[in-house]
């Protein structure tokens, strides 16, 4: 009691000091936030609105004329845009299951009691950390039609050499051709050029999928496996009824992440094919880039970016609704 009255008697000066200190703290706090906030507002938020403005313009160094939705309607009537969206879809449909499937398979093998596990992990991860332009350059050489090692290998095995990244024909057409058959053009399948890019993509990203899957596998309590073993469950049954359901949040995260990744894919495709042959590897991001970089169509490529973003958004919502419902979060 005595102490309390004493402090109350002396409050006047400390209150002013405390308020001063508080104001100082707030000022310091805002000053510390300022650089990051400023950068994010200027280079992340503001460009969304500026981009929308550009997309409504006929842009030549500035807004030459305001054209309203003309860039958008033009895009919707541009067969090349639809083609690029189609190529992006095929690219995603081929590469996402490959990356996730192979990633899960190898992660599951690595999760067994394996010697030299860190070594294997590192080796599978190396392509992912490597500079993508450099590795794509190396792969262009592996795929080279005249003196590439892949064709040398095919030749040694008695097969005819292939054009790989330069081949616009579908893979089914090529297989049918080598068997002496002809296929109707709609049954040709994805071009060998695109499939070659898918193979490269799998080589790069499988290590990432493995790393994430291994982290996910580590969170499954080992008692569940022991219980399953006691019940006499075989390896496959354990995998199907213990591993897969409990891993589903990880798989779902990877699915979303990988799908978005395939829509963003640019560096390796641009280095290996620049979108050719005959636009067979022109994904949406390559198409937008070329409109910007080669044709200087700012308004048009801004409009295209919004359309692509809209597609990704729809796809992500769809995945959340349809796939997300089957994810087991217990």
């Amino acid at each position: 009691m005595v102490q309390q009255t004493e402090t109350m008697a002396r409050t006047h000066v400390p209150v002013v000091k405390a308020r001063q200190r508080r104001v100082q703290e707030i000022a310091l706090g805002y000053a510390m936030l300022a650089p990051a906030l400023l950068l994010l507002v200027v280079f992340e938020f503001y460009p969304i609105f500026y981009g929308l403005y550009i997309s409504l313009c006929n842009w030549r160094l500035g807004c030459n004329s305001f054209v309203g939705a003309a860039n958008f309607t033009r895009a919707l009537h541009d067969p090349e845009m639809w083609h690029s969206l189609w190529i992006t879809t095929v690219y995603a449909l081929l590469s996402v299951p490959l990356q996730l499937g192979l990633g899960l398979f190898l992660a599951y093998l690595l999760f067994q009691k394996i010697r030299y596990k860190p070594f294997f992990r590192t080796v599978f991860f190396l392509p992912y950390v490597t500079s993508s332009v450099a590795s794509a350059a190396v792969w262009s050489y592996l795929y080279s039609p005249d003196r590439g090692p892949l064709n040398a290998l095919l030749g040694a095995l008695g097969f005819q050499p292939r054009n790989w990244l330069g081949e616009p024909l579908g893979i089914f057409t090529l297989i049918a051709q080598s068997l002496g058959l002809t296929l109707p053009s709609w049954a040709g399948g994805p071009s060998l050029a695109l499939v070659s890019i898918v193979i490269y993509t799998t080589w790069v990203f499988v290590g990432y999928a493995i790393t994430i899957f291994l982290a996910g596998l580590g969170t499954i309590p080992p008692e569940l496996y022991d219980a399953a073993k006691v019940d006499g469950a075989s390896g496959w049954v354990q995998f199907r009824y213990v591993t897969l359901p409990l891993l589903s949040p990880t798989t779902f995260f990877l699915l979303i992440f990988t799908v978005i990744g395939t829509f963003k894919a640019f560096n390796h495709i641009y280095v290996m094919t620049q979108g050719g042959p005959y636009n067979e590897t022109t994904t949406a991001s390559i198409f937008i880039f070329r409109q910007l970089f080669e044709s200087n169509r700012y308004g048009y490529s801004a409009a295209l970016s919004f359309i692509l973003f809209f597609c990704i958004l729809l796809l992500t919502i769809f995945q959340n609704r349809v796939v997300g419902r089957r994810v087991n979060y217990d």
Partner: protein, 301 residues
């Protein structure tokens, strides 16, 4: 024996090499070879003569061939890339310098802005803090490609086109870094702060003399991931630089591939090896930070 019977029945005391295990190792080894083969090809080809590249000789050196490893391909590649007469040096050295400058300035910028912001979000009591944090998190949803065109136009408007400013400043604010560091800072016990305040330390002093040293692993992770992403960046530098002397290594490599390197594969591979090597070394030396950072943040890709 000490091992209980039921345990023995279910699992052998130590795993033997069963056929299944042999198969697992076989698959993993084949997979690793597939993973490494492009690197091996790159390294081998960078040491071959033009003749052996043309003839597809896999191993032109002793004991199967008579060639010597062509270490000279490396200086030759550097020479072939071109000369920068205004700086009196090979363009290749400009590329390396540009990549190093861009990557390290970006890392420094990201670390400075993110450490300060993350500290405020983790430890300081500032009005509107939660709203600002949500605002920052929302930018994660803005895909880079959506804002590509307006950002390029902004570089022209700011007169940053073809300068280092365009290559570094737009990347210095990183939501991932702020989020990651904030999580890390929040794990550090509050008692430390109270003790420091009693000793008369303010927020900044506490941040720099206690928090940062304690958060070294998190800061290393962010630094490494930012460095790798900056080193790998290709699309943006291609869009916002014009002069050969402003190119970074990735752009220089692609341009070389379109020109001289397209025919002289051994030189292209030497160039690629020089681009790949620093990152691989960095990765192998600092693996732990890398894998943890990528698992927790999903940065890069």
């Amino acid at each position: 024996m000490a091992i209980p019977l039921d345990r023995q029945a279910f699992e052998p005391a130590r795993p033997r090499m069963s056929p299944a295990r042999v198969l697992i190792y076989a698959i993993l080894i084949v997979g690793s070879i597939g993973s490494l083969l492009p690197f091996i090809y790159m390294a081998l080809t960078s040491l071959k003569t033009y003749g052996s590249v043309i003839n597809d000789t896999f191993w032109p050196w002793a004991p199967f061939g008579t060639e010597l490893p062509q270490l000279g391909n490396y200086p030759e590649a550097i020479r072939q890339v071109g000369y920068d007469s205004s700086w009196h040096t090979f363009l290749f050295f400009r590329y390396i310098a540009n990549s190093l400058i861009v990557a390290s300035v970006t890392v420094a910028g990201v670390l400075l802005t993110s450490v300060l912001a993350a500290y405020v979000f983790a430890r300081m009591n500032v009005p509107g803090k939660n709203f600002l944090f949500l605002l920052i998190l929302a930018t994660i949803m803005v895909p880079n490609d959506l804002v590509l065109v307006p950002k390029v136009v902004m570089m022209f408007n700011l007169h940053w086109y073809n300068t280092y400013l365009a290559l570094t400043v737009p990347f210095m604010g990183s939501v991932f870094a702020i989020f990651f560091l904030r999580q890390f800072f929040m794990q550090i016990p509050k008692d430390l702060y109270e003790a420091a305040v009693i000793d008369g330390a303010g927020h900044l002093r506490y941040l720099f003399s206690i928090m940062i040293p304690l958060s070294k692993p998190a800061i290393m992770t962010i630094g490494l991931l930012t460095f790798i992403a900056a080193w790998d960046d290709f699309k943006w530098p291609l869009l916002v630089t014009r002069d050969a002397s402003m190119r970074v290594l990735a752009v220089g490599l692609q341009q070389f591939m379109q020109g001289e390197g397209g025919t002289n594969t051994q030189l292209l591979m030497a160039f690629a090896a020089i681009v790949v090597l620093p990152v691989l070394l960095l990765f192998i030396l600092t693996q732990k930070y890398f894998t943890e950072g990528i698992v927790t943040t999903g940065i890069k890709g």
